[in-house]
């Protein structure tokens, strides 16, 4: 559909923009700056601050003849209204004449700025925003030089109002632009803050308990045009100009949000670089200009005092520090002896380069390598993952999205946000889930199944299998049939390895049977537990169903970025039988404590590398801080061990490892670090030159990444797996079903060191529907010994009307091991 273009002139520049464009955006697109405070290009205009006033003229039309009135020289006669108009609320129209620089407009800007400054504290020298403050910058550029307002008559208002434990409000600095309020309502559907009172007393308040209860709250501090909203993490932490900025990626979920890490070298830290804050970096195909609060705040693990700094070897019963040489030699000699009895186990937070070197080393020995995790199906994404060019931001009418077995809001917040907005733009959203999720209210159709029926549910959506199905399934089929594009998200809500693997196969079948694969905006997306689970699949790693027996039989287990012993008591048991355990880690995990050799690895902030997101976008991250001394990058450790064994792996630079990787892996063929670093202009314009427009989020100079083409898009033949049937889940008398769910703020290794988030973290607790509780004999808030897979843990009961009646929900990574659906008992404590 061709978009109608409208022609106008702005300050004598001819401009042609799509109908519906606002004057302020049209100007910005041709490099004319109309200052704004309340307007934000990602939100609907409100016309509140009145800073964007410009003079607008429109061609005169003769009422009688309906013909344009012409000047003597034949040009259309333009009539200007008596009042200036707000450029942020006025759409362009044909023949419009916009003046942004004449005296009348300059006066108006100066007037509005003077008004705003009458009640502004001007505490720039101690304000977090000072140096990157739109009010400061625009005042310098357009404002009056001095104030006629008496300083003594200024309002004095509270300067430290905690809206919650994460965000603080400085009431004096607030200019009442409502950007924060609108963001919370329009963009993230958490209308938990708003205005109270009126006039000059207008103030931002929170309505929620806990305060400012939103997992996106940090974004408001980026778009607040003054220093009114600050994070308790960064508040008074540094001045913007003192910090360096490094491009990075979020490591907490498979979305792959682009980040900028701001660091400062501090005497207090012994001259080390200290991370001061995490900011979003614009990538309109990934995270736009937003990140979730986990991504923003949960970086403290990289700087934790608990980090491992020296290699350690078991001598007697103790782990003692040894030199790298000794450690590498010991590793090499053990591995050499083990040969094919080597098993490498890697976690999904390693980079592609690390994973590549590890698998090269292991293959060289004839050993086997596996992924640590309980979610399968990633191999199918290599065939029918979303096509190159996929962008959820383009989804609208004619596109459909199916989300199955995933609570995106908790598991991959920015995907939730993008899917929600796609649905609001008119995309057909189908949500299939065993329990209500925060996507339901945006869905055209919600399919509710019982845990265990995931595969059947997806299969019943295949139109050609249509049998006697429910109304919701029919609506789902209609939605899919009516769509040109279809993307399917599948997750692991209530599922273990077996279930997710089967579910992935069912999703692939649905996509193939409805011909939604092999092209942009179509295909499969997995909601992985880690940032680079997809990368591990690409490099051939798979989760093993029989991992315990494999570990038990191995002579050497080489475990990197994984904590099998901490996650699963059965694996801990198996590791007791393993001949020799090498652990490459950031922290002294339960697995590391069992190890014979512990090798300290660098954090992602200290080095570079690449991840593959769930949308199969390969993206680079860059070193942000100088590494602490001791730890080495994982890829390098693997290469140095390999060198001892006489194979040559690249150990110098991640980029060189990547070069080898792209030569070896067909899906990555031809890809280079340079390509991953390429950028193109994005809309809206944000960043350092456009602070007032988009906020303090960073623009992207370091790479938008490259989406891999799935096999189907390369026109390779498909290899459709069988869709396995899963046994029904049923609890015998005396037992009840417990299923794993994923929560945003769990108690995982990378989260716990961020004390700021402790109040919001999940406790060791299960969510139980009151009816199920009555059946089993549990009471709300009661603590009891939960026996799962023979292991008994003290947990609390939380009543939850949203939990299904058939199964209790247990969050992953809160200290109670659970791998998949399991039968549980209540331990009877006698006496």
């Amino acid at each position: 559909m061709a978009v109608k273009m409208v022609n106008l002139t702005i300050d004598n520049h001819p401009v042609s923009v799509p109908a519906g464009t606002l004057v302020v955006d049209a100007a910005k697109k041709v490099g004319i700056e109309i200052p704004v405070f309340c307007y934000h290009p990602k939100m609907d205009p409100v016309g509140m601050c009145r800073l964007c006033l410009v003079e607008i003229g429109r061609p005169m039309v003769d009422r009688a003849t309906n013909q344009p009135v012409l000047e003597a020289d034949g040009s259309p006669k333009i009539s200007f209204g008596p009042k200036l108009e707000t450029a942020c609320t006025t759409p362009v129209s044909e023949g419009m004449v916009v003046l942004t620089e004449n005296d009348k407009v300059s006066e108006a800007r100066k007037d509005i700025l003077e008004f705003i400054l009458t009640s502004h504290p001007l505490d720039c020298p101690v304000c977090d925003k000072g140096g990157e403050c739109p009010l400061q910058n625009l005042t310098m550029r357009f404002g009056p030089g001095e104030s006629r307002f008496l300083f003594d008559e200024k309002m004095r208002l509270a300067k430290q109002v905690p809206l919650g434990e994460l965000i603080l409000l400085d009431r004096e600095r607030c200019i009442q632009c409502a950007r924060c309020v609108r963001f919370q309502k329009e963009i993230v559907d958490d209308p938990v803050i708003g205005f109270s009172q009126r006039g000059r007393a207008l103030e931002i308040v929170t309505f929620s308990d806990p305060g400012f209860d939103s997992i996106f709250s940090g974004n408001t501090t980026d778009i607040c045009p003054v220093g009114a909203l600050t994070t308790s993490d960064f508040r008074f932490g540094a001045r913007p100009w003192e910090m360096n900025a490094a491009a990075s990626l979020c490591t907490h979920c498979p979305v792959g949000c682009n980040l900028t890490i701001n660091v400062r070298r501090e005497a207090r830290a012994g001259g080390r670089d200290v991370i001061k804050r995490i900011m979003p970096r614009q990538n309109e195909s990934v995270n736009e200009i937003w990140i979730c609060d986990k991504g923003r705040f949960a970086y403290h693990f990289t700087e934790s005092e608990q980090r491992l700094t020296e290699p350690m070897m078991r001598k007697g019963s103790e782990l003692v520090a040894v030199s790298w040489d000794e450690a590498l030699q010991a590793a090499a000699s053990r591995l050499k002896k083990a040969g094919e009895k080597t098993i490498t186990l890697a976690g999904g937070r390693l980079s592609n380069e690390d994973l590549f070197n590890l698998c090269q080393l292991t293959s060289g020995l004839g050993g086997q390598y596996w992924m640590h995790g309980t979610m399968g199906g990633g191999d199918l994404l290599a065939q029918v993952g979303v096509g190159q060019g996929t962008n959820l931001g383009e989804f609208g009418p004619g596109s459909a999205i199916l989300v199955v077995a995933s609570d995106l809001h908790e598991e991959a917040p920015v995907w939730w946000l993008r899917v929600k907005q796609a649905a609001e733009r008119g995309a057909t959203l189908i949500v299939a889930s065993a329990r209500p999720t925060r996507l339901d209210r945006f869905a055209k159709c919600v399919i509710r199944y019982a845990y265990g029926e995931e595969v059947e549910t997806v299969t019943s959506l295949v139109p050609e299998y249509k049998t006697d199905v429910s109304e919701a399934i029919c609506a789902g089929i209609q939605g899919i049939l009516g769509a040109e594009n279809l993307v399917v998200f599948f997750g692991s809500d209530g599922l273990g390895l077996e279930g997710t693997t089967a579910l992935a196969a069912a999703c692939m079948e649905l996509l193939v049977k409805t011909n939604h694969f092999g092209r942009a905006n179509n295909g499969l997306i997995a909601v992985w537990p880690n940032a680079n689970t997809q990368g591990a699949f690409e490099l051939g790693y798979r989760p093993a169903a029989d991992l315990a027996s494999r570990l038990a039989e191995a002579q050497v287990a080489y475990i990197a970025a994984a904590d099998p012993a901490g996650d699963d008591p059965a694996l801990a048991e198996a590791l007791r039988k393993t001949g020799f355990i090498i652990v490459q880690e950031l922290f002294m995990t339960p697995t590391a404590r069992m190890a014979d050799l512990v090798l300290p690895a660098q954090a992602f902030t200290e080095r570079e590398g690449t991840f593959v997101s769930g949308e199969r976008r390969v993206q680079r991250y860059y070193p942000a801080v100088r590494p602490i001394s001791g730890p080495r990058p994982d890829f390098q450790i693997a290469a140095q061990i390999a060198a001892q064994l006489g194979f040559s792996l690249e150990e110098r630079l991640a980029s060189l490892v990547f070069q080898r990787l792209s030569e070896a892996m067909p899906d990555f063929a031809g890809l280079t670090y340079q390509q991953l670093a390429m950028v193109e202009e994005q809309w809206p314009l944000i960043g350092r030159h456009d602070l007032y427009f988009g906020g303090t989020g960073y623009d992207n100079h370091q790479g938008l990444g490259v989406q891999l083409k799935p096999a189907a898009q390369r026109l390779e033949p498909l290899n459709l797996p069988d869709v396995p049937e899963l046994p029904p889940l049923q609890a015998p008398e005396g037992a009840f079903l417990v299923v794993p769910i994923t929560c945003l703020y769990d108690r995982g290794q990378t989260l716990l060191p961020t004390s700021l988030l402790h109040e919001r973290m999940e406790k060791p607790a299960i969510y139980v529907h009151p009816k199920l509780a009555t059946r089993v004999g549990l009471e709300d808030k009661q603590s009891f010994q939960l026996v799962l897979n023979g292991i008994s843990t003290l947990v609390q009961v939380i009543f939850d009307e949203n939990a299904p009646e058939g199964a209790a929900l247990l969050p992953r990574s809160v200290g109670v091991p659970i791998q998949g659906p399991a039968l549980a008992q209540k331990e009877i404590v006698s006496g």
Binding site: D111, F115, T118
Partner: protein, 416 residues
Amino acid sequence: MSGYVLLRHRDIPDLHKLDVYLANGGFAAFKKAVTAMKPEEVLKEVMDSGLRGRGGAGFPTGVKWSFLPNKIWPHYVVANADESEPGTFKDRELLESNPFQFLEGLMLSCYAVQANVGYVYLRGEFWRIAGQIDGCIADLEAAGLLGEKLYGSDYSLRLYTHLGAGAYICGEETALLESIEGNLGQPRLRPPFPATAGLYGKPTVINNVETLANVPPIIERGAAWYRTFGTEKSPGVKIFSLSGNINKPGNYELPLGTTFRELIYTHGGGIPGGRGVKAIMAAGASSTLILANDQSLDTPMDYESTQQLGAPLGSASVIVIDDSVNIAWLVRKTVNFFKHESCGKCTPCREGTFWMDNIARRLISGQGSLKDIDLLYNVASQMQGKCLCALGEFSTMAVASGIEKFRKDFEALVKT
């Protein structure tokens, strides 16, 4: 009988009771409309009558109704009973004493635009009146005058009241809609206008209580009869709320076009102590001050003529100021009111009213300087033309006209 059109309760005791109202011809117009007139005919009659909005802007009522698009449904009608303008107390008298005539007008308006739901939005302080209106609505439902399939037709109608929380800005029609929807009472951006996207995003008519009270007699007796009152462009009768330095303050129902002099001296009994009139505010606190002289006192009070004095008639709440009053004091009063009532949504009004109030306070407490007079005038001009809604503009009227016309009063307060 003196023939009131609106304040009929002054002639008929207990007119606020449904049986009394019915016995005096009540709901004849509504019955006639629903049983014998097409909605367009009702609309045309009101259009022909030339009735103009009594809430302040004087916009032709029939024309307003005709803007509602017939492609978008449902339609709503909202009666604006927020009456918060200082000096305005006419709607209150109607609501208390002649509520059924107002409600019948609301119902006729609903019928004309085929709305099946109408709302009465009352200012928070009118909680007692709201209870009374609720009672009226219940009586009407019991009598079968509200409900399903009225008079056996296909037309159904329900009315509801909604109480505000005491903010002047909620009289502004879009802030009023926000308030009904449960949001903070702040004006909306326009366009879109309520006629196309109003309550809950649907086409909506908003009319003042008095405006609506005019509708039953117009339908009953016809546009031509109505036009026998008032002037060519401002037909009909108007309730003038008279207050200030006056012997007989109160509501006066008079034809539009009555002069200030007649209102003040003939009906209002003149000024206490026989003092002279110094200034007149014709539209409550939102007025441009009128300098009282023979010419202005003899100006007819209709929408066009007062405008010639540079002072809109607004809601016709006439506040008389005698020669004992220092205008700077008056200006401070009004500015303080607007500072208190600014919703805070837009910068110039939020900050400007606050600033003006500071300067005006300084001036009247004798702490100001000559420069402050200019500054006050300047701030007012700086606000003009930049505010999001009319409240901000209103707040500058008394200031600007006060300093223009009565500068000496300000200078008298300045330390020298």
